[in-house]
Structure formats: C-alpha cells, structure tokens
Amino acid sequence: MQKLVVIGAGMASGRMLEHLFEAAPGAWDVTLFNAEPRGNYNRIMLSPVLSGERSYEEIVTHDAAWYESHGVTCRFGERVVGIDRARKEVIGENGTVAYDKLVIATGSEPFMIPLPGRDLDGVIAYRDLEDTNRMIEAAAPGARAVVIGGGLLGLEAAAGMRLRGMEVTVVHLMGHLMERQLDPAAGYLLRRALVDRGIEVLCSANSKEILGENGKVRALMLDDGTELPCDLLVMAVGIRPAATLGREAGLAVGRGIQVDAQMRSSDPDVLSLGECVEFEGQLFGLVAPLYDQAKVAAATLLGEEAVFTPREVSTKLKVTGCDLFSAGDFAEGPGREDIVFRDPARGVYKRLVLEENRVIGAVLYGDVADGNWFYGLIKDGTDVSDMRETLIFGPAFQGGAPADPMAAVAALPADAEICGCNGVCKGAIVAAIQNGASTLDAIKATTKASASCGNCAGLVEQVLAVTLGDDFVAPSARPMCACTDHPHEDVRRLIKAKEIKSMPQAMQELGWKTPNGCHSCRPALNYYLIADWPLDYKDDPQSRFVNERNHANIQKDGTYSVMPRMWGGMTTPDELLAIAAAAKKYNATVKVTGGQRIDLLGIKKEDLPYIWADLNAAGMVSGHGYTKGLRTVKTCVGTDWCRFGTQDSTGLGIKLEKRLWGSWTPHKFKLAVTGCPRNCAEATCKDLGVVCVDSGYEIGVGGAAGMELKETEPLAKVATEQEVIDITVAFLQLYRESANYLDRPYKWIAKTGGLDWIRAQVVDDLENRAALIARFDISQSIYQKDPWAERATPEYQRAWAPLADLTQEAAE
C-alpha cells in the first residue's frame, strides 16, 4: 500500500480525503497531522457558533471517528517540525513518518498587525474555534470589545459578540466597510444596519497602539489619540498562507506554496492545496475554489487527469438580518456601466456592473434573493442586451409575468449551479434524486449540496419538490405549529441569539403568522422565555395550560386534584391529620400515588385557594403534580431502616427535592433515589435515578415508564452526595436550556445524539458544570416559590369564584 501523509485537517484536505476514499477505498495508508487537537469542522460556520445560532457540534464535518472508520492514523494536536524530502519523511514532534506522497494543507494564519501591545492577554485573531470560544467567554453583559478590520470576518465577529451582549466597536482603516466586496453605497447601508444593532463603526481609522494594564489589554489607541477601552481586542484584518513548512523544506514558495494546475508543488511527490497555496500568482480564501482544488488533488493522487481552474466567487455575510451578497468585479472603469436600484425606505440597494453587455459584478443589499441568478450570469458570461431594461428586477421579471419560484427552479438548466460552496449543479442533484435521495439530508449526504454554509438549502428543497412532484415530503424539521415555519430548535436558538424576552417580540421577530399564537405554541414559547430569561421575562398565565395556570390537575369533570409535596416521600402524623381534615372539609376522594404522595381529588376551582390555605397552615406546599416541571423524588428507607441499604437514600432524595422543587422544565421531570441495587424506589425508569452502592452512587438518566418503557442509561458514578446533587442540577439545567418543549429527557438525549455530549457538559467539564448550576440557581431565585402560598389570598378567592350568579336573579 502507498503511504500518504497529510499535514492539516481542514476543509480542503477533509474534502480531498473524501474523494480519495470514495474513488479508491483502501488504496492508501494515510497519516493525518493536525495542530488543532481535533478533526475538521466547517470553519465558515464559526460565526453562527459565535452568535449562538449554531453549536460547535453542528459544524463538525469530520471527527476522529470518521477518520478512524477510514483507517486514517490521526496525529491530532501534534505539530510537524519539518519535512525531509530526500528521505521522504515528515518529522512530527513525536516521531517521523515516511511517505510516498505528501499533501501540505496547512491553511492560513491570521495576519496580526505589528502594533505595540499585540502580545497582551486579550488580543486575539478570529480564525479558529479557540478564538471563537475566547469571544464567547469574554461576552459578559457590559464587557467591551474592539474589532480591528471591517471585512467579512471582522463584521461577523462584531455582530456575534454584540448578540452576546457585548459593547462592540469596529475600527476600519478604509473609507467604507467590506471595501473588497462592496461599493461605498452598500457599505453605507451595511454600516447603518450595524449601528442600528448598537455596534459602533469607525471608518478611515488608523490604529496606533494597544494599551495594556498588568499584561492585559485595556484599550486601543488610534493615531488621532482617541482611546477605545476594551476587555478584548479582535484583529480580523486578513490572512496569509501558512507556507513556512514548505519554504523550510525547500519548495518553491511565493506568497504561498506554488502549485501547478494538478496541485503539485515544485516537488512532484509533494502536493499542496487550500489557503496555503499560490496558483498563477493567486491566493484563495473562500471555500468554493478550495473544494475544486480538493477534487483535483485527489485525482492527481489517483493518477487521473484533472485541471484546476480558478472561478468567480460570490460572498455572503453571515449576520442574521443583514442580507448582503456580492460577486465578481464592481470597480468603476472605462467601458463599464452601472445599473442601480435603490429603495431607501426598505433599505434595499442593488447594483450590477456591465461590460460589453455582460454582467461582471453584482452587489445586493437588503434583498439578495436574486444573487445566485446574477452570479450565474457572471459566471456564464451571458449576453444580457435583451433583458437589460428589466435585468435589475431579477429572473422573475424576464420575459413577461413574474414567475413563481418553483417554475424558475424548474426552468433552470441541468448545469445551473445550486450550491456555490460545493460546486453542485442542478443536474447532479436531480441525478441523486433519481437514485433514491428524497430528502434534504439525503441530498446533503450524496451530493454535498447545502452541506457547507447551508444558504442554498431552500433551493435544494425546491429542486426536490420540482423533481419528485407529489412524492416530495416537506423537510423533516417540522414547524412548531401552524403559526410558524420555525421548528422548535430554531425558535429556542433564536430566542437566545436575538435576546428575545417577550412573547410579542418573539412572534414579531420570528414572523408568527397568527396574531397571538395557539394552544400549542404559546405554552412552548412561554417555557422557552422562562428558561432562557428568568430575570427578564414575566410568566404569562394565559399562555399556560389550565393545570399550570390553576396550580392543580384538572379532572374529567372539571374539578381538580390537590397534592401536597412530601419531601422524599416522607410525612408526619401531623401532616396526615391536616390532609385528612382538608379531605373531609372539601369532600375529597383520597388516593395514594405512585410518586409516594397523597392526592385529594374532586376539589372545585373556587375552593382551591381555601384548601391551599389550610394545607399551607400545616406547613405543606404544592407538590407540582400538575406541571411540566420538577415532580417528585421517590426514595426507599435506605440506611435509616433497611438491612440492605448502602447509603442514606431518603436523606439524599430529600436534599435533591429541596434543591430542585419549583423549577419549570420542558416536560415533567421525575427522580428517584434507591438505597441499593434491589431498586425498591424504581430508580431505573426515572428521568434521573440514583442507585446507591457501597462505593457511592450510580446516576442514570433518560428512563421512562409511560407511553414508552425505557431503562435509564448510566451517566456517571460518583463517591459523594454533593457530586450527585451537582451533576443532577447541571443535567436538569442543560435539559431546561436545550430540550424541545414536551420532549422528556429520553427523547432529548436521543436527539442530541446520545449521552456523550451531555456527559461532557455535566460530568467531565467541571467549569461548565458550575456554570450550569449557577444559571439554575438564578432561575430558582425567581421560581422556587410555593404557588399555593402566593394564591391562597382573598384576591384569588374572588378571582376564581364565578364572576356573577344569575341563578338568583332569574328566580326573581
């Protein structure tokens, strides 16, 4: 087998290996070096991670498991110190590896302006996940950041940090933002949109020095003496090829490692691709040409003919709410003409640059729907003389009446490009559909269309719909309800990312189609807002299901059941006397429940505030037996009484219940603590169950004993009660923050892809565990209150009685 060594696990090399394994599985013995201690993620999606609209897990493209499944030897976290081309060896920090072919895909390094103070703590670039995490960590409300660089990355960084509540200033050297992609007019609109979001933008501003204090960044000083105070300074002024390894190995290097059209360097056994290469004097930073290079490099390794040709690229800014598109060349010049459309009130600006009756550049702001069509015209060099008068209005207005988008997609030729990132044309997607791919995910898996930035997902779905006709099933992420097109996941994400803190704001910002929702979405929105903004959002009783509004469980005849809390299933003679008295007074049916409590059934609504007052007087509080919230902690008698008990299961159950009660969760949440593996408290079918053993406590999660029967899965085994409590709180909080409304934990766990991610968050990462606990405690400071005590008042006694009684008047 031939030996292939790849240096750098990035988007280009990952794609190259995919092509290679697809064409010739098992033909190569591959070793992969990566300085970052992980596999490959979709770098262009770091901005949505920063803004909180995506998670890191969602942007991973090739993880260690993927490489392993293809037999790749991964040397992650290990730097390559040199290449010995004479002996055909790569020298890593931990030893050398021989190669027959070597691929250098070391990517690029952020360019750091050599300002005084650039070594201070808190001065970072915006390049990788570490930088992204630095920004996320720094994002305390009121914290200040300065971004140097008003290009694509700088603005995405600024918008992301602003969404996380930071005060952000962008410092840009040039006269307008994104001057390489935008003309001044569009740059102005973009600036205005950013200023509206509370981002300060300084153009024509020259940085002079970074000021520090105790080794940490304090401010940026401009050359006019202005000081911009900041806790974090992000430099996003550009990238340069990481070509040092190639240069030291004696390869021909200009600005990057020079390659021919087959991606070979000056040494035919050494290939290079990605942002580290230079081809015919050109460098590459956008993803589409890199994927072309990956295809060519794989072909070269396989001994096939392939030629890399650079192509026109288009750019989109990934800042939610700022729609911006640019492609081609839009500098003014002799022989060039402009077509411009402005609608200032809507904030729409479109500009096309024409040369010899062909579109050579397009800038769209505010309405980018036609971007791909213009991009196609640029790429194909289409003669537009015939449609010049209506060109700026887009494809819908060419040749008569506006066409519906489906017809427009149907009319696209087979070689029309649908996915710009991956260079997938309509024909390839149609072919995949004819071979059985019938969903967006299947198309992603087979063609890569929409698998990178995802902007073309809608277009791909339209191709699916056009090709499959009636067989097309709408996307799997179902909308929450008929009031919105957003699935639960999107709504949760956007409530966090856009800092949506009220129900009207949610419906406005997320485009609700009904004036005030429905019985399905309102309780979900109310929960999401409670969970994400406990201090800001005010609970809306009218968006609660009757049980949570009335704090009792409605029965088939319209009466209610009342169930006081019995901590860990323990009670006292005095409590029992009070319960008995209340049952007699309000004529209740008495039932012992499976959750080790006593239920009083048949209580009329108008009597609720009175029976609560009676039970409160005996020291009892609501058992929340009616909520999507913390229900009960079932226990056995443990070491207090049982001859088999290994730990104080009752005491631990009571501690857990005292800590957790009152919290709202996506669905009901039940716990149990059992004193030994005999499991008398039935802990292994609970949302979270603790089984005590001699050496400590086994925590299991995701059990169920309802419509579905499921045993818990082991989450952690710990030695102390405190660890049980901490992990339980962290698990509950993570569930509160990320599950869909009405998903019990076992469903949520399945959707997150298993317990590994959850275990990493709540068990392994102690810092994150502490942060989850802190957020839970903030929520509890608001919501751990007895709802009965708050409602056992004369106001409620009045409000819950009939408004009027006309039976008397009718008799008169």
């Binding site: 005030n516 309102r522 009783p541 009218q542 299901f545 009757v546």
Partner: protein, 110 residues
C-alpha cells in the same frame, strides 16, 4: 333584549375567561387579546370540558380536556372536529360587561 351587568371588563384577564352561573349551567365569558368579549356555554361539545379554562388565541378557544378548538364568534368546532357550543349575546359598555339576561332565561325555560 334585557342587558344585565355581570362585572367590569378588567375582572376578566385578557386572553382569559370568567364564569357566570345561570339557570341553564355555567356560561364562560371570554375576553380576547383585542379586548372583545364573547359568551359561550361553558361545556365543550365533545366531553363537557370547561371551555373557560382553555387557552384563548385569536377569536378561538382550545378546550383544556382534549384540545378541541371552538370559534368564539360562532361556537362552532374548528378543523376536523364537528360540534357546536351555544353562544350568547355579550357586549362592553363603559368598561362593563353586559349579557342578555332575557336570552339566558328564555333558553332556561326552553
């Protein structure tokens, strides 16, 4: 019609309801988000659930027992369900909610 004052509009929570006892059973008086009032029999056409405890959305209410949805304007079940809940004239005057007592008595006599 003989209008009878049953209480202040502010006694009914927006997007909520209060109950009025009558000879023919309870009547639910709803107040919608746009501050209109509607009166319907407080018995779901399906299994008799108390509509007054349902979630009010637009000019509709969802029964708390099995999620049947009724128009507050016509009392008709929405969607795939079919059924009808009696409605009664209701109006707001000077911040007070009025029901047609004659109508209520007439039905009770019927």
């Amino acid at each position: 019609m003989s209008w009878v004052d049953i209480g202040a509009l502010d006694d009914i929570p927006a997007q909520g309801a209060r109950v009025v006892r009558t000879k023919l059973g309870c009547v639910a008086v709803f107040r919608t988000a746009d501050d209109q009032v509607f009166a319907l029999a407080d018995r779901c056409a399906h299994k008799g659930g108390p509509l007054s405890e349902g979630i009010v959305h637009g000019h509709k209410v969802t029964c708390p027992l099995h999620n049947w949805v009724f128009s507050l304007e016509t009392g008709e079940a929405q969607g795939a369900d079919s059924g009808q809940v009696p409605t009664f004239p209701a109006k707001i005057e000077n911040g007070r909610v009025l029901l047609d007592a004659a109508r209520l008595q007439q039905e009770s006599a019927a």
